[in-house]
């Protein structure tokens, strides 16, 4: 039985050009795992100027040394060149993906090349099978694809089925990859990269076992983490009402982007609040593998068939804050049932909900302002009209005209072509998350290496202090947070468990696995990974100087007043000198 070897990483290389694979073992302990090793592996294996949809693009999936030793280390980090932003793409998903990869014996999987015909790949411990997926290609519903593969393949209860829906096949630049139905590699377009490689799904079945180097302390520290997770309040926010608990307070704060950020207050927010969903729609909660919290909130939606009396279907839909913002307030949808239908449609095709919502919000405003006509929009897009948005989501998949072909490339691309950049709400090419909280939030989106609210939690800095710090100090805070989060995502610990996994606990958790490291060393590695990732992002084409800030954000007051462009400029200048130019 293998003792855990922290330094030695086992990497499975798969080549779709010739359906071959090999396993590489090498010392990468200095990069910990997850995002640390994925950054290195992507950098080594990709030609930096490659087109993201070319066969030369490379997908790296990585897990960490705590997977599956401890609870919450259940995220798989995916890194690739993003077809949405044209530079570094990164997204994280839970479900059973990470534990299956680790149980199969791997720290990382590197996928290169492209198949000439549709395939899906099954990894079963040391074996890799390439399966014909021609019959699955064209199934636009990611749920059906998952079900078919689940019936055919073995490994019930221990496998992960990562697959794309129609959006990935049609190369929608913000298509995601779904795993275990309700978890997603959502942001920055991994689904389109799968689609460009004719890779319909990746199944991982693993049953390996490792031993800790110290049995007694391993069980003790495990119990401690379990206690912290279940007996303390650390996870409360995520398991009671869940992330939608944020809807009401952010709206109260005038921070909930509404109708393409024409406003930051939604008059119907209460109807789509976490409390209302919990009271009327919550049907079940489920968990990612090895997570006691079970934050995945599922709503049941009962839909009668119009053609047959007393004939109904009931579907289960996963809801979270980000979807309520992007497909709800951002589109002026204040009806929960209508909102759930939009969420379901996005899930079915496998699109990133935030990008989809922001694109549709832009299209609605563009239609209203006459930048596009009904001939382009096809559906009568109007804030609050869910039926029209359902049609528009279908159109993002079918792409029946030039307009939707371009809209499927994201809000940056569409506004370049049709105008309306001032209200095209993307940062670094990535459609914005739902936080109009102030300078911290927006500067966080701008300098975050994924342009995501999760990179550095600027929205949280905004809400914690009454006064903004000096811009330089703000940048330092953001970078410090983002550097620490590199450690969490190298351990692949879910960010929701960041309150449990303090630096002290991480160091403690290392010991039974045979790793001696101080908190300072740990933080230093976080900074190193951060800079390495920034360097790779630059090499892949990121240009801070070309960053576009949509005017709209200055027109809507935040709870601290209007945003100040000089403040943002000072912050970006400081960031450029201190970090961007340093790598």
């Amino acid at each position: 039985m293998d003792l855990i070897d922290f330094n030695l990483k086992k990497i499975l290389h798969i080549n779709l050009n010739d359906y071959s694979y090999f396993v590489e073992e090498r010392d990468m302990g200095e990069w910990i795992g997850g995002v640390g090793i994925a950054t290195r592996l992507l950098s080594e294996n990709i030609k930096k100027d490659v087109d993201p949809l070319d066969e030369g693009n490379v997908i790296v999936l990585a897990v960490g040394p705590f997977t599956p030793a401890y609870p919450f280390a259940s995220k798989t980090v995916a890194m690739f060149k993003s077809p949405l932003t044209s530079n570094l793409g990164e997204s994280h998903a839970g479900g059973r993906s990470a534990t299956a990869i680790a149980n199969a014996g791997y720290d990382a999987i590197v996928i290169k090349g492209a198949s000439s015909k549709p395939v899906y790949v099954v990894i079963e411990n040391e074996k890799v099978h390439f399966r014909d997926a021609r019959v699955l290609w064209g199934i636009e519903d990611s749920l059906i694809t998952g079900r078919i593969i689940a019936e055919k393949e073995k490994g019930r209860g221990i496998r992960a089925i990562m697959r794309i829906g129609g959006a990935g096949e049609k190369l929608v630049r913000f298509a995601g990859v779904m795993t275990e139905t309700y978890r997603h590699f959502g942001r920055t377009g991994l689904g389109a990269v799968f689609g460009s490689k004719k890779l319909k799904a990746l199944v991982v079945i693993g049953k390996g076992t490792k031993r800790p180097s110290d049995a007694k302390s391993y069980r003790e520290i495990y119990n401690k983490i379990f206690e912290l997770a279940t007996a303390s309040d650390a996870m409360k926010k995520y398991y009671l009402i869940g992330t939608p608990v944020n809807v009401a307070p952010l709206n109260e704060l005038r921070a909930l982007p509404t109708r393409n950020l024409e406003s930051a207050y939604f008059e119907n927010a209460e109807e789509i609040s976490g409390e209302k969903f919990a009271e009327f729609n919550l049907a079940r909660r489920i968990a990612c593998n090895h997570c006691p919290t079970a934050c995945i909130h599922l709503a049941a939606l009962r839909i009668p068939y119009e053609d047959e009396p007393y004939f109904h279907k009931t579907i289960m839909i996963s809801y979270d804050y980000e979807l309520i913002y992007s497909l709800g307030s951002m589109l002026g949808i204040g009806d929960r049932n209508a909102l759930l239908k939009l969420m379901h449609r996005v899930e079915l095709y496998g699109m990133d909900a935030m990008s989809t919502g922001v694109c549709l919000a832009w299209a609605t405003e563009a239609l209203k302002k006459g930048l596009i006509s009904q001939n382009e929009a096809l559906a009568p897009l109007k804030f609050g009209d869910a039926e029209a948005y359902l049609k528009a989501i279908d159109n993002l998949y079918f792409q029946p005209n030039e307009f939707y072909k371009t809209l499927a490339e994201g809000v940056e691309a569409i506004s370049k072509k049709y105008g309306g950049k001032e209200f095209a709400l993307a940062f670094g090419g990535n459609e914005m998350p739902g936080y109009h909280t102030g300078h911290g939030g927006y500067i966080g989106f701008l300098i975050g290496l994924r342009h995501s609210h999760l990179d550095n939690a600027g929205y949280s800095i905004d809400q914690k202090a009454k006064e903004d710090p000096e811009p330089e100090e703000l940048v330092e805070k953001l970078v410090e947070e983002e550097s620490w989060r590199q450690i969490l995502s190298s351990l692949v610990v879910c960010f929701f468990a960041r309150g449990v996994y303090t630096p002290e606990l991480v160091v403690e958790g290392f010991k039974p696995l045979g790793i001696e490291m101080s908190e300072d060393e740990l933080k230093e590695i976080g900074r190193k990974i951060y800079l390495e990732k920034l360097k790779l992002k630059k090499e892949l084409g990121f240009d801070l100087g070309k960053m576009r800030i949509p005017k709209r954000i200055f027109e809507v007051e935040t709870f601290k007043g209007n945003l100040d462009s000089n403040y943002i400029e000072r912050a970006l200048n400081y960031y450029e000198k201190k970090y961007y130019r340093a790598v």
Binding site: P68, E180, A215, N289, A294
Partner: protein, 135 residues
Amino acid sequence: MVKILTIKDIERCVGCALCMYACSRRRPKSPYIGYDHSGILAISLSGFERGATIIVCRACYEPPCSQVCPTDALVPRKGGGVVYKEKLCIGCDNCIEACTISAIFKRQDGKVALCIHCGYCVDFCPHSVLEYREV
């Protein structure tokens, strides 16, 4: 009193698999990471949103697995189920075939994993699906 592991409320199962990891850790001197040594398996009904099934020993009074074991590695246990004498196990898989509910699992080292009704997993089930009760 002898105790056995039972499922108290299957509808509460969220599919977290903490029971499976706990089962692998159950031996104080040789806990395992992963679930190759787990004698319990939580599967979904085509997605946990439709519910779960937990496959685990039901503690038979006349265990078929024990009846077909050629080496007496599986001995009927007082209160139901079996005691697994791992050293005697030759990995013939007869027990796997014999178990009516497929609750004996093949390990990678050739031997088997099954529930011995120690109750260790119960404390790690965060949503009270499992129960350790007196027979």
